[in-house]
Assembly symmetry: C2
Homo-oligomer: 358 residues x 2
């Protein structure tokens, strides 16, 4: 019953770079969230050429250039937007400003790749949709807890191969470590970070839509709380929501900022996917109380229980697909509709959430 006894469902071949140098050129604007590192690494790993970087804060730029010396600091955002050689701008600005940045990027004739949550209000969603229609450009989203997690990618491959039959429910646990001392002020201002269901909830809603194969869903219950952080009155330290999908499947997720200091990692992210013929459990970032690292996929179906450790075996096909999508004007990595639908439901879950007593 261990990973050595059988591997009926092998991961798809590791993705390879999809372009040569300078075929796909991108820049980074907005370094407020550390996710910009993963976004940049992902594109570079798929063959992308990082050209330049801009943030109003020179310290953030300096730290970025330390990691990515190939990025030339630009004197202004305009310098990047006016560079005709750049195909795409990756951004991880403050959540509530991500849409405005995207509008500027798309209006400059470039595709946009933003950290999640991609926006914080339904008005921004309307603006983003209108800009996509007007410019023909992409507003792609870094839903990292699926696209940049090998266990999560492999789960999609398992489902596609029919390993658990039809997906009935997706249940996600998204705990995070607060590390309040190193967070910027905007992290605790709700109109800026968008609330917990919009922010880290968007990861889970995207996964519910993705693994169930749904194109739409209804949020049937959502709630938030500030259970234990009165010093940050606008922080939601807990949230959860239930979704009913348009294909009958359903989803539930919980997100929170209660990862304790004794945990080896920032959060014991889990996903349980229930199917008619079996189930999958992901232990994405760690296997609790072991030193086994990340990348644990558990499968149980009519034949067996199986533990796949997929660390280093799956890779992240999203990034190469996105690059090809940009160059070929296709929608392989993720459809625009899907990216926006996850955002829409995240905002709705947040806006309509019951507020629990602390």
């Amino acid at each position: 019953m261990t990973s050595t006894e059988g591997f009926d469902y092998a991961p798809a071949p590791l993705p390879q770079p999809v372009v040569g140098p300078d075929e796909f050129r991108f820049a980074a604007i907005g370094l407020d969230h550390g996710h910009i590192t993963g976004m940049s690494q992902g594109l570079i790993g798929a063959g992308g050429t990082l050209v330049s970087v801009y943030d109003p804060d020179p310290e953030k730029v300096a730290r970025y250039v330390e990691q990515f010396p190939q990025a030339k600091p630009a004197r202004s955002e305009a310098e990047i937007l006016e560079d005709p050689s750049i195909h795409l701008v990756a951004g991880a600005t403050i959540t509530s400003q991500r849409c405005a940045l995207g509008l500027r990027v798309m209006d400059a004739g470039k595709d946009y790749f933003t950290d999640k949550a991609p926006l914080t209000t339904l008005e921004q969603l309307d603006q983003a949709k209108a800009a996509v229609a007007r410019t023909g450009k992409k507003y792609a989203v870094y839903y990292s807890e699926r696209i940049h997690v090998e266990a999560a990618v492999f789960a999609g491959q398992l489902i596609e191969q029919g390993a658990i039959g039809r997906v009935l429910q997706v249940l996600g646990l998204g705990p995070h470590r607060l590390r309040a001392g190193i967070r910027p002020d905007w992290f605790f201002e709700k109109d800026k970070y968008g609330g917990i269901l919009c922010d880290i909830g968007s990861h889970n809603i995207e996964q519910i839509l993705y693994y169930t194969g749904a194109s739409d869903a209804t949020v049937t219950q959502s709630q938030i709380a500030n259970y234990n952080h009165p010093q940050y009155p606008e922080l939601d330290d807990f949230g959860d929501a239930n979704l009913v999908c348009d294909n009958g499947a359903n989803g539930y997720f919980r997100v929170d900022w209660f990862t304790p200091d004794g945990l080896q990692n920032w959060g014991d992210g889990r996903l349980f996917i229930l199917g008619t013929e079996g189930f999958i459990e992901l232990r994405k970032y760690m296997n609790l109380a072991t030193d086994d690292g990340p990348g644990h996929v558990y499968l149980a179906n009519g034949e067996r229980e199986e533990h796949y450790n997929v660390f280093g075996k799956v890779g992240y096909p999203f990034f190469g697909q996105l690059i090809r999508d940009v160059l070929d004007r296709t929608e392989t990595a993720m459809t625009q509709e899907h990216a926006f639908k996850a955002a829409e439901l995240s905002v709705k879950a947040q806006v309509n959430a019951r507020v629990l007593a602390p």
Copy 2:
């Protein structure tokens, strides 16, 4: 980080028998659910003396007597109810008939110990409450997935010792294997089994109330489905519900009949208890894709991650407490109010459930 490296939180001493032979005498009436075996074993293990058994079906009686030769088959239910030496009647009749049996038992001057769910309608609940008030007798419930599971008992001890601070959320997964071929007809008739949220959901609602320490809760969302068993139109093969407790904590659980045949056990029952200072995960009956047996408790808090294998180390204090409660007229094992509240919320979750499209 394994169970051998530290055991700051040791289980309480194993419970010992609380009475000598014939100090606590009980009988079994109603053998429709196999739980009667566990109920009987639990009481016997705590020192109880099994006296007699009755079921209208002689085959069920014969199978019971094979396991428990000390049980004398009675010619009628009345023979047991009229035996003044018997303190308590344990019963696992058809779910919808459990209340009626309890009324007869209590009116005969004996305490009652029923399999869960203890009842299937709010009318029955009113009758049961009235009978308790009228007779002064107990209507105790075998919520086995907590009281007869060592991992679940130990989790209670951990919480009591402050291992995770204040409990904020209890999240339970209660998958079960259907084994439709060996189930009796009543198992598929909703007015008899009560629906999935009433039936196996009652385990989870009891656990939510217990671990959060709540005395009441509101069911804020519940849903059921028959996703994949059209041949059993009254079967709910899926259900879930959210509860908000009177102390601010909350709970979510999912129950289903989709345990696949390749699983080593009838269900990979899990419980996640989120606290302000850490969390607990229970892998009650198995540790997926291992041969490590049951009884896994994982704790993470400010100090460490810890894996406790508590198989054989905790025991089941409920049964001895129940016996003492019967003899001493105390409420140590479980309050009547708690047992009824879990039943009430289970019925409400079921009755008000959204029905998902298959």
